[in-house]
């Protein structure tokens, strides 16, 4: 009996969690006037027209391309910067190392809006506005500190003796790092990439402010459907579903390591 109660409870909880997503999926497969006219728990006349429109209209699908572009650039930059930094924090003692390490995290304590004005002004002067690089660079401000913290935790879990053995065996530092060390922390790199990806993917403020048309992210494109004739419910729901998919895919690949990532690698 006890087990059944628990099962019912879990099913109820899961239903509550999945309901909005299901409702969005439901809407994305219906026509607009159908959505507006009646309550339907499943699409009575399912249609994929909304999806077709997104995949055929450049102003829609370019939103995804733009998002992927700056998220990708940001992930690469953040990892390239954070890997050596995390190694240094993990292996070397230098003047002010602990303060610097903490200062990194304080970058995440201020609301993003605080940095918006200086960054917008600076990028305008540099002519970076409306480029992928603008958004990618702005996001590193938040992603590099997080990446350094997560990676440092994973790296400190690797015994220092492995480094020393490699140096005794004649490895140079870059070669050791690439051939011996990176494979040991690849789960950590994966989790870090996931956190970077997720932040950059869902961040809207910077992505919208620093872009105009050329690099407009999908989340900004979605606000476009508000028009004189009202909202295009079905199209918006389809875009929403497509926006969830990449995140879900990434989570699937790192599902076994996410808990360790949330603990900054210190489990």
């Amino acid at each position: 009996m006890k087990i059944r109660m628990r099962t019912i409870g879990l099913i109820g909880y899961l239903t509550l969690l999945m309901l909005p997503i299901y409702w969005m999926l439901n809407m994305s497969l219906r026509e607009n006037n159908d959505i507006m006219s009646r309550l339907a728990f499943y699409p009575h006349h399912p249609t994929i027209n909304n999806y077709v429109q997104i995949f055929t209209d450049p102003s829609w699908y370019m939103g995804y391309v733009n998002s992927f572009a700056y998220v990708g650039i940001n992930t690469v930059i953040s990892l390239l910067v954070a890997l050596p930094a995390a190694y240094a924090f993990s292996r070397y003692r230098f003047l002010g190392d602990k303060h610097l390490f903490f200062w990194l995290l304080t970058n995440r304590m201020a609301p993003a809006a605080v940095f918006l004005l200086p960054i917008f002004q600076l990028y305008s002067e540099l002519g970076l506005i409306d480029t992928y690089l603008a958004v990618a660079l702005a996001h590193t401000l938040f992603n590099v500190p997080l990446a350094v913290w997560i990676l440092e935790g994973f790296m400190s879990g690797v015994p220092r003796e492995i480094d020393e053995t490699a140096f005794i065996d004649g490895y140079s530092l870059p070669r050791f790092f690439l051939t011996v060390f990176l494979p040991l922390i690849r789960a950590g790199v994966g989790v870090t990439a996931f956190f970077i990806f997720m932040f950059s993917w869902v961040e809207l403020l910077f992505a919208r402010t620093l872009t105009i048309t050329e690099a407009k992210p999908i989340a900004a494109v979605m606000t476009r459907t508000v028009s004189a004739s009202g909202l295009d419910w079905g199209l918006l729901a389809a875009a929403g579903i497509l926006t969830i998919v990449p995140g879900a895919l990434v989570i699937y690949f790192v599902r076994n390591y996410i808990a360790k990532g949330f603990a900054l690698g210190r489990v």
Binding site: A166, G170, L184
Partner: protein, 367 residues
């Protein structure tokens, strides 16, 4: 390679780990660094390897000053207490790693060396596996193989057998004796167990609290410890150190036992001393005939394989006797312990050895 440490000290965060160590290791010698944990054995090895820089003093390889030369530029091999291998490499790649990085050998030459070394350590059938798939003993064999294959002139072993179980330790130890018996490599082996120092032969250095107390041939250090502390470190079970005074009536132990002076104690002037008796020199039968008896009560009898450690109390002093065979004693049982006064070490109050039992170095190279 001859390795020389000149007044080498190490200070970390204001704490002194090593006090001015002077040591000269001959080329091709086997050296055991013996000392309790925290004695500074690992610190010394790390300095020898070039992993750390000394805070003071000089390190010479042959006649070259290598004090500031980093580990990558030195030609050393090292085995850690923990089983350190490259987890993402197969055993084959693990053993081949130092050859690929330091020597310019062809693939075939590397292959021959890797397989020969693996065979020597009986891991030739594991070459395709990953380190995590091996047992602890096999993992340490891989680490040893990686150190040996490099054929470095200096091989450092930091308690390589400590994390293995008893049987594996014995097995690997006897194999290592054979491996090290031929070779021109200078070997430094850190150990906490006196038996390891004696088993490998060679020279022994006694380290304690960051100081090198004595360095010399293992048996000489065993039979002629310069201080009471050396004899303590180089005895397992611990040597029995008892306060004593020498007067006109002979030697009086603080246990209220009086006995005439043995031959080697005759020259000592009257006064206070400490005497040391190794546990294996105390028995429950008066074997030599002129043994001195101590009446004591049993506190504990531990069995260690085929031996018994008997802890017995006399007054407020507990002494340990090492008896052959497994012998059972009841708690509080009265026992008579005998020791031969001619086997006594006598230390002065400061701990310096002033008289030791008769011992002649066994010299195989008869002139």
């Amino acid at each position: 390679m001859r390795l020389t440490l000149q007044n080498v000290g190490k200070v970390v965060n204001g704490k002194t780990h090593l006090y001015g160590i002077d040591l000269e290791l001959e080329s091709g010698s086997f050296n055991v660094l013996l000392g309790p944990t925290q004695a500074g054995k690992t610190s010394v090895l790390r300095l020898m390897a070039g992993l750390d820089r000394p805070s003071s003093g000089k390190i010479l390889e042959d006649d070259n000053d290598v004090t500031t030369v980093g580990v990558r530029k030195r030609n050393v091999a090292m085995v850690y207490q923990e089983f350190v291998n490259y987890p993402s490499f197969t055993i084959y790649k693990n053993i081949a790693a130092p050859l690929r990085r330091t020597k310019h050998l062809s693939k075939a030459e590397i292959d021959v060396k890797v397989r020969a070394t693996a065979e020597m350590l009986h891991i030739e059938r594991l070459l395709e596996r990953l380190p995590a798939e091996l047992s602890g003993g096999q993992q340490q064999r891989v680490a040893l193989a990686r150190a040996l294959v490099k054929d470095a002139p200096l091989l450092l072993l930091d308690e390589p057998l400590v994390n293995l179980d008893y049987k594996l330790r014995e097995e690997l130890r006897s194999e290592m004796r054979q491996i090290f018996s031929y070779g021109t490599t200078t070997v430094v082996y850190a150990a906490t167990e006196p038996s390891e120092a004696l088993m490998f032969g060679g020279k022994t250095g006694i380290l304690d609290a960051g100081r090198l107390l004595q360095y010399g041939p293992g048996l000489e250090v065993y039979h002629r410890p310069v201080t009471a502390r050396v004899s303590e470190i180089f005895s397992d079970p611990p040597i029995n150190l008892i306060g004593a005074s020498i007067g006109p009536q002979g030697c009086r132990l603080s246990l209220n036992v009086v006995f005439p002076l043995a031959d080697h104690m005759r020259s000592l002037s009257p006064g206070d001393y400490r005497v040391g008796i190794r546990a294996n020199q105390i028995g429950v039968v008066n074997r030599s005939g002129n043994g001195i008896v101590i009446h004591a009560t049993v506190e504990l009898a531990e069995f260690n394989g085929s031996e018994t450690y008997l802890h017995a109390r006399h007054g407020d002093f507990t002494m340990i006797a090492l008896l052959n065979g497994v012998r059972e004693y009841a708690l509080g049982e009265a026992v008579s312990l005998y020791f031969d006064p001619s086997r006594l070490f006598v230390f002065d109050v400061a701990g310096e050895l002033v008289a030791g039992p008769e011992w002649k170095p066994y010299n195989t190279k008869a002139a």
